[in-house]
Structure formats: C-alpha cells, structure tokens
C-alpha cells in the first residue's frame, strides 16, 4: 500500500525541481487522476488506492485540496504509514493544527494518529503538548482518554521524551474522574509510569483502593454501560489490581483494611451462583478473580487469603473450561513459591499429575509440568520425578529438553539416596537420550565421582543398562566413564568380570561417534591399569589398523599413545598416571544455568530461584566439597575436561607427576578462557566490527575438537554445517549455510577474522611488517587475508542472497603458520525479513588439528621435556 504513496511521491519529486515545475507536475497528475476516475468505471481496487494516496500526498505537501473529510486522511495514515516513514514530517504539521483546534473530534483523531504511528519523531514533536491536554480542566472526556493512552504510547516508545513534571500529580487524580473510560486510560498510564518513578505516583495507591472498593461493592447495575454481562467494570478492576501489584502492601492500616475487604469480597463472589449462564459472565468474573489472586500472591503476607486463593485455584483445576484450568495452573506456579501456601499447593498434586496425563491441550500440559516442578520438595520428589519421566515418553518434542533438565535438577536437588539419583538419570538417558544435554550426563559423573557410597551401585547399574541391545550413545559415554573409573567394584561378580565388561563396552565401540570412541579408548587404558589380565586383549584392540591408522587424528593419537604407554610404562607409573579421578570441586550446577538460559531471563527466576522452600537446605545442594582437590584446576563450566581433550602432547611415560592425566585433560579446557575477551574481539582488525562470540561459542567449538564434521551452529533461521580436513599444517574447511526459513536472507555475509592478531602484536613488541604471503597464482588475491604469524585463511565471498530452504557453501583454505591459542572467529550477518541478524561464532580450528605424531628417542624426548618445563 505504501508503494502507491511512495511511487506517487517519486513521480512528483523527481520531476518537480522548482516550485513552478512542481505545480505544473501536480496539475498534470491531478488531471490524470481526474480522467482516470472519469474515464473507465472499472477501476480496480489497487488503482483507486493509488490515486487516493497520491491525492493525500499532494494535500500533505500543502496544496489546497479539500481532501474529502480529514478523517479519511487519518484513517489512511493509520493504515498505511508505519513509524519509520518519511511522510511523518509532513503529517506532523497537519496534526499540530488539529491538536490546537479545540474541536474534540479533531483532537481525538490527531491523538489517535500520534498513538498509532508512535514514532520517535512524533514523540519529539508532541510529547510536551499532550500532558497539557491531558490535565487541562476543559478537555472533554474522550480527549483526556485518548491523550492518556497517547502519552503512554509515546512513553513506551521513547521514555526520555516524556517530561515528568507537575502534571504527574494531576494525572493521579484522574483516578477519581467521573468517566470510567478516563479512569481506565489513566490507570494504564500510571501503571506504566510508576514502574520508573514509584515515589512520584505513590498517592495512587489509596485512590486505586477506594475506586476498586466502590466497583467491587457496587450492585451489578450501578455502573450501567460499564457493566459487562452483569459484572461491573471488569477491565477497570483488572487494571486497578495490576496497578496495585506495582507496589508493596499499603502501609496505611485503613487503606490496607479496605483493600483486604475488597479482595475477600472478590473471593466470596466467586462462590456465589453465577448471575448468567453466558460464558462471558464467568469470563469477566474470573478475569477479576485471577488478578485478585495475583495480587494476593504478590503481597504474600496474608496467610488466610493465600490459602483461600489456593483453594479457589484448586477448584479451577478441575473446571470444565480449559482456559480456567490453564490459568489456574499458571497462577499456582507462582503460589507454590510462597511459604505460606506451599503446603496447600502440594495437596493438589494428584490433580496436577492427572492433568499432565490426560489433558488434551499441549499448552495446559506444559503448565502442569511447570507446576509440578514448582511444587516439588523432598516429600514428593520421587512421585513427581517418576511422573515426569513417564510423561517424557509421550511429551511433545518441543518441550522434551526442558523436561529433561527439570527432571535432572529435581533428582539432584531432592535425592535422598544417590542410587535413586543414578537410576533416574539413567532412565532419563534411556527414555530421551537425544534430549539429554552434556550438562546432564557430566553432572551425574561428577556426583558419582565425588560420592563413594554410590560408586559401586552406579557401576552395577550402568553395566546392566549397557546390556540392552540398543542403548543411546549418551549411555555408552556414561557407562564407559563409570566402568573405567569404578569397574573394579563389580569385577568380583563373574557375570561382570573384567573381560565381560570390556567386551560389552567394545561391542558398542563401532557404532559410536568419534568423541565417544575417544572416551572409550581412555576407558580401555584405564582398564589396563584396573585389570592387568585384560592388557593383552586391549593392546590387540589398540594395535589394530582401524585404531592405529584411524583417519581421525584424535583417535589415532590416543591409540598410538595409549598403546605405547601400556607397553613402556611400569605398573607403578601406570597406576599413578591412570589413577582414579580426584573429586570435582563444588560449583553451581551447570544444568540450572542451562535451564535459565533456555527459559529466558524472566521465566527462569520464577521457576527456580524464586522458590522459598523452607525444607531445602543445601544438604542436597550438590556434592559435598572435598578438600583434597588442590591440584585440580577447575575449568569454568567444563566437568570432565574430556570433551575438549586433545591428545596428550607427549608420551606420558615420561611423567612422574601424579596428576599428569588431570593436567592433560584439563589443559585444553582452559583454552577457551584464553579466547578473546569482548574488548579484544572488538578491537581486532576486521572488515567490519565483529561482535563478541555468542555465549554458546565455546561449547560449540568444543564439540569439534575431536571431530571434523558436523553441525556447528543452528538456530531457528540458520544452520551452519562444517566439513573439514587437515593435513600437516594445511586444512580445508567447507562451511554450509542452510536457510531454514522460507524467506530469502539478504546481505548475507559471513566473514572470518582472527582475534589473536592484536594480542600477538602487543606481545611481540614493535609491530612487524605483516607477513604478507605472496598470493599464489590462481588464488583470488582480493580475498586474501593473512594473519601475520599465526593462521592464514583464504575465503571466497558467498552470494549475498540465500533463498529460502537453500544452502550455500563457503570454502576456507587454512594454513597454520605458528602455534595459536584463539580460534578464528566467524561473523555472520544478514537481513531476515528486514531485521538485521548478526552473531559471531568460533571457527572449529584448534591447534590439535595440525598435530602430527612423531617418533623420538627417549633420550631426545627427555631433553626437550626438561627444556619445556623451564
């Protein structure tokens, strides 16, 4: 629609260079329009619109056209113009005139227009005038009403533009206005304004309470037009109750008494028989009721009311209206966090579980799951967790991961005995292995490692779980790790003797991904230490061509080194190197952090930290801290250090240090922390400013330490796949950008930047001349970027448009010139549906990709080793 206006203007403006020319042009255009309207009757909708738009535009330019009624003009503006149109400037003048007109119809129309456009420019032009209109004594009701909302709209769009002043006090008094419409609009405005300046509007509390009490106690006919299906002024009541939720309970005892009385009346009315059978009647009544309950929960100080509210919600839980069941579950979630009503909420557990099982509507089921999570404490944890596990089998895919996280958290938080915890997590992996994220299974390993009493049970359980014909890869990971550490605890039983354990694990080996196989290789070498009798078998496995000459450098290296370690080292050295992992230092559960991230900032806090459960001390806060873990560095969010483990850099046979393995495994995990701080990344030279990598960047990168192919990144719009191969100091990486939407991406530009540059400069003192590598023939020198001494990456530009559902490919040629710590950054920018999108990822290029095994005599090695240790 805007097209018409724009085109019209385009025609006029390109040719209308001078004033005369413009008039001439307009006359011509008008003549044209006139003939169009006169000529053929069969003008289609589009042309009519186009011509009316043109007329509108000519009018706005200031030419004297009586454009129908001005209302038509306003309607067009509100329909056709959105807030970033250039036309606004022209429109502003017309509005200014109308605001000053003192004709209520014109003023209302002008205010409507301002509110509907609601741009910053509008705010700049009118923000000062509107408060004046709002509080002027002689303004008509309808004008005040519009002015209040118009001001609210401008305030929301650009709060800095609305000046606070003496009018604020007078706005509060609008709550006493005779006209209900004005009051409703004023309440909306105050609710928004008082969030920023609660003290300025404090007086509104008592006014709101008295207004509310007048409405609540009025007979259903008192308010005439504002009675909706026998409910007096439902919208205003809801708004007033919302406003009161911005403040703590009133301090004045009289006001408070009056308010409590109101709240009680509302609760009482809910019990009365309905005055009408119409659904609208109960809807309106319940809208007030739910808002009342929210206010009671917000105050959280009246145990009596809280319990009544809880009972009321309990009734709704079994109501035949789906809407009410949904809202009741939602409100109960917040109610569960109040210590007064937590117990009362718990009495409804069976109803909620039933809702989870039988409800047909997924939105309601999700609320039920939320509520179960919120009402869980030690007394009902087992029941709730088992119900949620059962639900998981049939849950919608979209919410499975969230449920998995919740189950994991509850199981850990309320575990009385840890065997139950282990069972639960293993069940979780069995039922929904795909949705069990790393955090969850890391956590179970952490807890098992730290608690002696559960280790034997864990080993036995995973051993049994692994016997299932098909088990999830996450199960293999957990099983591999636990058996590697604690397999000896069950080795006494002939059914789980060492050879049986080994062959069980090895039967899964070939079906697993590279990362899991790497983990299993570590398990094998641990077996050699735990069960010397398996040494020959395991060495044979390691020696097999499929390991020693594996295409994956990580697996190959592990095989080579473990094989050498097992044959060279003495039993003592082996025992030291392959010692049981020391307990993990205590830290906040990374699962909780993940859930918070998933639910977004608002929802997360309501779910977990908001809980005030008197019974949950930190007995179950996690694992008890153990003092003996001095030597274990704690990589920030990394549990095992395993996922980022590159091959040990030197044959460990040389290492007498007991915690070598720990060091080796933890070393690389520290690598991401050496990555670019936001400032460095920001300062780093690049074609454009590169933002700091997204928070998940490290996690995504770590997935690729041991593998070369996979999905690097995925969100709702875009998927980035990686295929890469490395040979000696050279690598080639294919990035596949897949558009997951049906809409074309515009200005699509992925760029690669290496943040290490700047650091290197500073560290290496005087800036060296850039080691500009001569562009070899055949390579497009324009896209050459050489990164000084560390990495050289050559890329080609990709097409700027990516069609919906299409995939484009980008090839990177990488040359490693020196050792480096920070991976290069990939910054992806594009426009999707007009909105610019940008994020930065870490490219999965880590130093270990360029590692090569080498042969070296023990003598030489030691010499080098000593040099290294300074």
């Amino acid at each position: 629609m805007m097209g018409g206006v724009a085109r019209g203007r385009g025609h006029i403006l390109c040719e209308g260079k001078s004033k005369e020319a413009e008039i001439k042009r307009i006359n011509k255009e008008l003549a044209n329009i006139r003939s169009k309207f006169k000529g053929d009757k069969a003008l289609d909708g589009y042309s009519k619109k186009k011509y009316v738009c043109k007329l509108l535009f000519i009018f706005l330019l200031g030419h004297d056209i009586d454009f129908g009624h001005m209302e038509a003009g306003y309607l067009f503006i509100s329909v056709l113009v959105n807030s970033n149109s250039e036309l606004i400037r022209l429109i502003n003048n017309a509005i200014k005139n109308d605001l000053a007109s003192r004709n209520p119809t014109f003023m209302c129309l002008a205010l409507h227009c301002i509110a509907n456009v609601g741009s910053r420019e509008m705010g700049e032009a009118f923000a000062a005038d509107i408060p004046r209109i709002l509080v002027a004594g002689d303004s008509m009701d309808s004008v005040k009403q519009s002015a209040a909302l118009c001001l609210l709209r401008l305030y929301k769009a650009s709060p800095d533009l609305v000046p606070m002043g003496e009018w604020t006090a007078r706005v509060v008094h609008l709550l006493n206005d005779q006209h209900m419409g004005v009051v409703t609009a004023a309440v909306s405005l105050i609710t928004c304004l008082c969030k920023k300046n609660p003290d300025d509007f404090k007086t509104c509390i008592s006014l709101a309470v008295s207004r509310l009490s007048r409405i609540v106690s009025s007979a259903s006919t008192d308010l005439q037009d504002y009675t909706y299906y026998f409910v007096p002024a439902p919208w205003l009541s809801v708004k007033l109750l919302r406003l009161l939720q911005c403040y703590p309970p009133p301090e004045d005892a009289a006001v408070k008494g009056r308010l409590v009385e109101c709240l009680e009346t509302v609760l009482n009315k809910a019990q009365e028989p309905p005055k009408s059978k119409k659904v609208q009647h109960s809807n309106a009544k319940n809208a007030i009721l739910f808002e009342t309950i929210s206010l009671i929960i917000h105050y959280d100080s009246e145990p009596n009311l809280l319990v009544r509210a809880c009972n009321q919600l309990g009734q709704f839980l079994q109501h035949r209206e789906t809407n009410l069941r949904y809202l009741a579950l939602e409100s109960m979630c917040t109610l569960a966090s109040s210590e007064f009503s937590h117990e009362a909420v718990k009495t409804h557990i069976d109803t909620v579980i039933n809702a989870l099982k039988t409800e047909r509507d997924v939105s309601v089921r999700q609320r039920a799951a939320d509520l179960l999570y919120a009402m869980c404490d030690r007394s009902n944890a087992k029941q709730i967790v088992s119900e949620m596990l059962r639900y998981l089998e049939t849950a919608d895919y979209a919410i499975r991961e969230e449920i998995v996280l919740k189950v994991a958290i509850l199981a850990e938080k309320y575990a009385v005995d840890y065997s139950w915890y282990v069972d639960t997590i293993l069940n979780l992996i069995r039922i929904a292995g795909d949705y069990v994220s790393e955090e969850v299974w890391y956590r179970v390993l952490q807890i098992v490692t730290n608690r002696d009493d559960v280790q034997g049970y864990a080993a036995k359980t995973v051993f049994e779980a692994l016997q299932a014909p098909a088990c999830h890869e996450n199960m293999v990971k957990v099983g591999g790790y636990i058996l590697g550490e604690f397999g000896n605890l069950i080795a006494g039983d002939p059914r789980s003797s060492p050879p049986v354990q080994f062959s069980l694990l090895h039967s899964k080996f070939h079906l697993c991904s590279v990362a899991t196989r790497a983990l299993l290789l570590s398990t094998y070498i641990k077996f050699i230490n735990l069960f010397p009798e398996t040494k020959a078998t395991i060495q044979a496995v390691l020696r097999a061509g499929s390991q020693l000459r594996n295409a994956d450098v990580e697996l190959q290296q592990r095989a080579v080194e473990y094989l050498t370690l097992s044959s060279v080292a003495s039993t003592d050295v082996l025992a030291t190197v392959l010692e049981e992992m020391p307990p993990f230092p205590e830290r906040e559960s990374s699962i909780l952090a993940k859930l918070k991230r998933k639910k977004g900032p608002g929802a997360g806090s309501a779910l977990d930290d908001g809980r005030r459960d008197p019974s949950s001390n930190d007995i179950n806060g996690g694992v008890e801290p153990t003092p003996s873990t001095v030597s274990t560095p704690s990589p920030s969010a990394d549990l095992l250090g395993l996922r980022a483990a590159p091959p040990p850099a030197a044959p460990p046979a040389s290492a007498g240090a007991g915690n070598l393995l720990v060091d080796v495994f933890d070393g690389p995990a520290a690598q991401p922390s050496l990555g670019p701080t936001p400032e460095e990344a920001f300062l780093s030279p690049g074609p454009e400013d590169i933002g700091p990598p997204i928070p998940e960047a490290d996690e995504l990168l770590n997935k690729f330490v041991c593998k070369n192919n996979g999905v690097l990144f995925e969100n709702q719009l875009l998927q980035i796949g990686v295929k890469s191969e490395f040979r000696q100091n050279l690598g080639r990486m294919y990035l596949f950008y897949g558009n997951k939407t049906s809409v074309q991406f515009q200005n699509f530009s992925p760029t690669v930047v290496h943040p290490g540059d700047l650091q290197t400069h500073i560290l290496s003192g005087p800036a060296q001349p850039p080691a500009s590598r001569p562009a070899s023939p055949g390579r497009p020198s324009s896209s050459w970027r050489s990164w000084l001494t560390q990495l050289a990456v050559q890329t080609k530009r990709v097409a700027a448009q990516v069609d919906g559902g299409a995939q484009v490919q980008q090839v990177l040629n990488i040359e490693c010139l020196r050792d480096f710590l920070t991976p290069p950054l990939l910054s992806v920018r594009f426009r999707y549906g007009g909105a610019p999108q940008a994020f930065t990822l870490k490219l999965p290029v880590t130093i270990n990709k360029f590692f090569q095994p080498t042969e070296m005599a023990a003598q030489d090695f030691f010499q080098r080793w000593k040099q290294l240790s300074l």
Binding site: N27, L30, A31, I33, R34, F37, K38, K41, G45, K48, Y51, V52, L55, D64, I65, D66, F67, G68, H69, E71, L75, N82, S83, H112, N116, G118, Q145, L149, C150, L152, R153, K156, G181, T184, A185, S188, D225, Y226, Y228, W235, V238, R242, Q280, N283, A287, F290, E291, T322, N323, R325, Y326, L327, D361, S363, A398, G600, G602, Q716, G833, G834
Partner: protein
C-alpha cells in the same frame, strides 16, 4: 500491551491486520501465515491461549484467539494484559461489529474494511485498550457515520478531491463526474495453505 490484532478466515485469508509495532510488510505476511498455522490446527475445545510462534510469539508474548464461524480473531499481547480480559475484549469487538453491521459476516469485513478499522480504533489505540463500553463505541461510530455522510465521507473522498481539483482553476472543468460506488477492497491475497 497489544502487539497485533489479526483476523483471518478458516482458509487463512487475512481479513484485517493491525500491527502496533512496526514490521516490514513481508514480516507481517509471515506473521499472519505463521499465526494461522498455529491457531488453525488446534481443536475447538482446547484453551484460547497459546505461546510460541517464532516471529511474534517470542519472549513473553501470548496469542489469545477466538474462533467465530468462519473467522479467527487473534490478539497478540504481552504479559501486562489479563488473558481473560482480552478474551472478553474480543467478544466486545465482535458484538460491536455485530451492532454496527447488523448480523456481521465475513463479507462485511471485506467490503467495509474502513469501518472495521474505525471501530477497532475506537477500542484499541496504539496497542492500548481505549474503550470497552459497547454503547460508547457504537455512539462514536454513529457520530462518525453522520459526519461522513454530511461531508460526503470516505466513500466519496475521491469525489471530493475531484471537486477540489475542479476548483483549482484548471483549464478544463469537468462536468458530471460519475464515479460510481467507490469502495476500497482488500486485495485478494493468496490463501495460505
């Protein structure tokens, strides 16, 4: 705050769309399409609220909808609105339409889209609820209609413009301009399947 109001029929043809936040036209079309897919696949007696929807349902926004005969009325609101309150507002809107058009049907929305916009503007202004009193709304709309009639209204806006042109001292003064019934139709957008 109300973020958007959408009306479409059972086949996904949009009959009215009002966005209180600026979106590009393409995005608006996508939002309508996505909302239709979300809403249309739901059963009749499930609840009227739903979360989700990538474009507009993000963060704490909720879709609150009602299904009347051939039309879906969908309001996208943030958490500052009461769900049941909005549900009632939809009812008020529909009842007002019914009063203004006398047994409103889908065709009224097609042929009098300007009126529907006017009615909506009386109820919701810039995403905030302005008026919930049906009588008040109807009175305002009637007053507008009268005003329009007396000033030859929107339907004849082009005619007025033309008459203005007539008086602009142009060499050729047209006589007997017959414009016929000009009403502005919603373009027939392809239905979303």
């Amino acid at each position: 705050m109300i973020k958007a109001i959408l009306i479409f029929n059972n086949h996904g043809k949009p009959r009215l769309s009002k966005f209180y936040q600026p979106y590009s036209e393409d995005t608006q079309q996508q939002i309508i399409r996505e909302t239709f897919h979300l809403v249309s696949k739901r059963d009749e007696n499930v609840c009227n609220f739903l979360e989700g929807g990538l474009l507009i349902g993000r963060s704490d926004n909720k879709l609150i909808y009602r299904h009347y005969a051939t039309l879906y009325f969908v309001f996208c609101v943030d958490s500052s609105e009461s769900e049941l309150g909005i549900l009632d507002l939809i009812q008020v809107f529909v009842e007002t339409l019914d009063k203004c058009f006398e047994n409103v049907c889908e065709l009224d929305l097609i042929f009098h889209v300007d009126k529907v916009h006017n009615i909506l503007a009386e109820m919701v202004m810039g995403g905030m609820v302005l008026e919930t009193n049906m009588n008040e709304i109807v009175t305002q709309i009637d007053a507008q209609n009268k005003l329009e009639k007396s000033q030859a209204g929107l339907a004849r806006a082009p005619a007025c413009a033309v008459s203005a042109v007539k008086n602009m001292n142009l060499p050729e003064i047209p006589r007997n301009i017959n414009i016929g019934d000009i009403s502005i139709k919603v373009p027939n957008l392809p239905s979303f399947k």
